[in-house]
Symmetry: C2
Subunit: 457 residues, 2 copies
Amino acid sequence: MATKEIPYKIYLEESEMPKDWYNVRADMKNKPAPLLNPGTLQPMTFDDLRPVFCDELVRQELDDTTAYIPIPEDIRNFYKMYRPSPLVRAYCLEEKLQTPAKIYYKFEGNNTSGSHKLNSAIAQAYYAKQQGLKGVTTETGAGQWGTALSMACAYFDLDCKVYMVKVSYEQKPFRREVMRTYGASVTPSPSETTNVGRKILEKHPGTSGSLGCAISEAVEAATSQEGYRYVLGSVLNQVLLHQSVIGLESKAAMDKYGIKPDIIIGCAGGGSNLGGLISPFMGEKLRGEQDYQFIAVEPASCPSFTRGKFAYDFCDTGMVCPLAKMYTLGSGFIPSANHAGGLRYHGMSTTLSQLYHDGLMEARSVEQTSVFAAAQQFARVEGILPAPESSHAIRVAIDEALKCKETGEEKTILFGLTGTGYFDMVAYEKFNNGEMSDYIPTDEDLQPGFDSLPVMP
Amino acid sequence: MATKEIPYKIYLEESEMPKDWYNVRADMKNKPAPLLNPGTLQPMTFDDLRPVFCDELVRQELDDTTAYIPIPEDIRNFYKMYRPSPLVRAYCLEEKLQTPAKIYYKFEGNNTSGSHKLNSAIAQAYYAKQQGLKGVTTETGAGQWGTALSMACAYFDLDCKVYMVKVSYEQKPFRREVMRTYGASVTPSPSETTNVGRKILEKHPGTSGSLGCAISEAVEAATSQEGYRYVLGSVLNQVLLHQSVIGLESKAAMDKYGIKPDIIIGCAGGGSNLGGLISPFMGEKLRGEQDYQFIAVEPASCPSFTRGKFAYDFCDTGMVCPLAKMYTLGSGFIPSANHAGGLRYHGMSTTLSQLYHDGLMEARSVEQTSVFAAAQQFARVEGILPAPESSHAIRVAIDEALKCKETGEEKTILFGLTGTGYFDMVAYEKFNNGEMSDYIPTDEDLQPGFDSLPVMP
């Protein structure tokens, strides 16, 4: 194909948007290990999962053979409100770096949730509505997922109950108000509204909460009320499936101009963005059609891939959820107060964990001061103020582009710019004032996490 | 032209983006009255203005005969980072309202400044750079203009000094940090860095500042330092010229699909967005080629068009700037604490003032609780959380669409969605809590403003 002149931003036509999600598990020889019932240690079945999750989402969770799953028309129409997202050629960054590399990023921040989370939120809300449910419950820490879900529920007129970690509820009142504007009820967790919340409050009256506790409250709220289910914004296979729209659009846009990425980079917390971005490219690699270098980027303070163990572990700190086989720092691991709240998770998607274990992708950990330096450099030339999470990918994209400058290689780099940093200005302020520090856990710090790994039979 | 199916979002190709700005003054029979020198009451000349503004911008300010002014390539390339902005068909809002009207909005919020202000900021920074200046100074209240200018200056490696009204500096630390992230120095005004600031602080030690004072400080900072000029984000003719890119893109996108708007609606503070949106359409009306209904929407608490006088007045509260003939509430008028900071200005663009005076456009004033109700309704169906300023236009667009529902008319409505409300969550919180109130000045409230109008010879 003749090389066309590449515009600054490649937008697909609406008619070119994906009509199916791509399920990368279908092309994996080594499937991700199944979730286990924590009581029986047997694989979770449809019937085990359906009291918690919507039926159709359970089906998607368990389906590791169907490669393409149609995107319902209502979801495709909602996608059209903020998608296709632009694939941006970072001409200005390339010039600033004086690199021969060609840098592209897929920008998912142009919607009110400020991140890619909306791609799965609208799907999960849709299936809840289809099932005739009254509403859904969830937890949120940094607030991106809660915001996305509140937007999706407003669209389908579903009730949305968000348990927000108390410290975030108090420190991020703006995120909370966005959710309320979309009609969600936002409860600081732990709360008096659930048994588990009341127990924790009794034991630790002054606690500022944790994600693990918020998950437990949200699950209890869903399972104890008629017509409610629990939804989750990352880690799960169903979420990676919905997020494949990122990679499918990226690939379609690149194919249109005859571009092949050499390196594909994404930040990794629970894996939703990274898994979505790389899925269709990984599919080609798994089928032996094309090779790509994939790099997962995680915070040095929460290094699941680079320093974790590949083992069965609890997905939540409260140890009530199913066991997943994944790279984990142990469900008891408490990450330090890194500013990329969306990446502070002890575990990782089972799908990505298997791919990493099989040597199909790489991982790097980076320190937050170097991440914010990359964020600032990027913002000043590309205009977009990136989220701290997304800036992990920027850091490694710049590092790779600078390597090309040294070697003279004209590699094509694609990274996922998952969101914007408008609600992260406290972190930017620390960086601007030179008050940000790094934290790398010692091997001893990791012990309490690893020690709590359940012993498998 | 055959009607094509209209997509949710119409994006122009980069090759279809405007190559010239359109200067609506060229087609006006009654030109806007010239700025007057406050000392001599004679029209301001090139030489009067060049100590304060960049040379090329002074030329643009004074040029009321050239219809098309080429957009320099560097500016067009910067535009490509965040433009073309989408022209959105509000299918979901139409369905929610059950109106036969067809609603379109031009969305200018998809850039880090969060508003259309960047369109002029990058132009002003470019001409400053071309002139070999070291930097520029400006004032900011709500912070949108200051953010846009700091982004533009980062791109051209210019120093950027922003005087931020002290109360905003303290209450909006996040806006301040965005500017600092882009390398701007942000000084709370009044400050010890200028003579005028020191004088005011001596007289009113505890003052929280005002826009008028910040303007005076920024002008002093520009004129007292070698290599600096002052820049302004609204009101001026040059700003309307740069903002014409909004209207030109809107018109090109509509023409592509054979769409003719019947009503064009924009919020009006100083007039930069409204003037930019309507310019090319107004040109057709002025040339007798096509008729349109134009509606300016302003806050009931600061009703320059609907309750002001068409007279010469000072542009600033400090009465140091030139006199402009405009609809004004008097430079001494203090608007109440309306949450649309960008619309709290006592005066109005001289160009728009003349067009309104000549009966070529209409104006309406709306109360802020009804504005936030419209904002919330819009956000829940269209996904975008709008800025309070932009929501004034949403209010009237919804009102007009509901009129169509009554009459059955299938009017086509176009409105300007100038920005996002991510930094306005304090206002949304008040609305969500039912604590927002309206304020309409009495005729007596307006007297102090009108009384301070200078007596013309």
